[in-house]
Symmetry: C2
């Protein structure tokens, strides 16, 4: 039950291929890639095909391609009634052609091309069309990581929005902070321990309880002082919006 | 040159007192506290006084009290021309009465009452009124941490604004994410590795370069889908504002 075929050669596909290739428990049967040059040199070239008609039999087919290509790749598969999953956080399960038994294996992490990934620490969000397939998908995923969660297509959409808030928007807060530092000749590195501690705190506390700063204290003097310091009108308005949101949340909900 | 007196019994004062008490290199001469019961039991009670007139001689006096009390405490000191510093991120140096030689020793970190602090990892922002005192303050601070930075009162104000963005506002992003998860029965813990990686990334990359997500890709489909998913108008408007800010920054500055 551990025979896997991966379709794709991008960022996520590469990391998954590497993991299965190095694994003692999973068997990398084949890779489908339109351009075999994109596959890492450490992988046996004989495993790669660019011909849909030559795709072999396996227990699971993992489509790790861009969201826009999932439908097309799954439609081109020359077989039916096999377990076919994609790895996307935002595409729904029915992006996969219905001739096969569909599923999702979504690793919740950002992947960088040249940075190795410790899959054992990554949470996987799983979904299958049929109950029996969930057990198969779960068993295979547990070879990657013990952090396995059953997540519906609808929930997965909310996971994607949440990821925007906690990762993309958080990074933008770092961008603004970095800019303020550069303008005032302050080394941004001095904030790294504070940022790490901000993250450590939510290990023990609900984020709403961990909230500190002038907005939640309703320290109007400091809020006014900060708005005076910020000369960029757009950043000033963002400071005001987020401060108001903190006050809405913490007054309303605590 | 290592004789220290600490004034205060709050959160920051407690951590500083504990550190000096445990240090082999610094000598805790005395503690001034209005309420000696607030001083930890591990500290020798004979070190504590609540009488300004009984304050002894030392190389440095560290006032670790709330911003609003710095002026009063420093005015009550029954001596002049000694080195007196406060520990505040937002109060300026001249909050301290001018009869003494003034300075600032500001540890850039959030302190929690019952959580021990590793001072060696904390950056300290130092400022003194007189150049000669800087050497003294630097020497003493280096017993706490090697991460010592000379920072003016003006720069310190910008450090405080930056801390709001990178710590307080970041925590609010976690609060919103946590709420979306609760509403959709998604365990928030699955985001912890993603959040940690968001932080790890800025070790190697400028935050503006590390930016990912639908806003920076100008992926209008996903942006629209996310706005449709968010039913709370205020959160929707925040999503829109921060996304626009990301686009302003990354189009304008990259």
């Amino acid at each position: 039950m551990n025979n896997v075929i991966v379709l794709g050669s991008g960022n996520v596909a590469s990391h998954i291929i590497q993991f299965i290739n190095d694994s003692n428990e999973l068997n990398l049967v084949q890779i489908y890639a339109r351009n075999s040059n994109k596959i890492d040199k450490s992988i046996n070239k004989n495993l790669v095909t660019d011909d849909y008609l030559k795709i072999k039999e396996a227990d699971i087919y993992i489509i790790a391609v861009s969201d826009n290509s999932i439908a097309e790749v799954s439609k081109n598969l020359p077989f039916e009634n096999r377990l076919v999953v994609h790895t996307s956080g935002s595409a729904s399960l029915d992006q996969i052609d219905s001739k096969n038994r569909r599923g999702v294996l979504y690793p919740l992490q950002t992947f960088s091309k040249n940075k190795s990934v410790d899959f054992t620490q990554i949470p996987f969000c799983l979904e299958t069309e049929f109950e029996d397939d969930y057990v198969v998908l779960e068993n295979i995923t547990q070879k990657f990581s013990q952090k396995v969660y059953q997540i519906s297509s609808e929930q997965r959409q909310y996971i994607h929005v949440t990821a925007v808030f906690v990762s993309n928007f958080t990074n933008h807060m770092f961008t603004i902070g970095n800019e303020i530092c550069t303008e005032n000749e302050i080394p941004f590195e001095i904030f790294k321990p504070l940022i790490q501690e901000t993250l450590n705190k939510i290990e023990d506390l609900e984020p709403i309880v961990a909230q500190t700063g002038p907005a939640v204290r309703n320290d109007t003097n400091t809020l006014k002082k900060h708005l005076d310091l910020l000369t960029n009108e757009k950043i000033k308005s963002l400071y005001l919006n987020i401060s108001e949101s903190i006050q809405n949340y913490n007054v309303k909900k605590l």
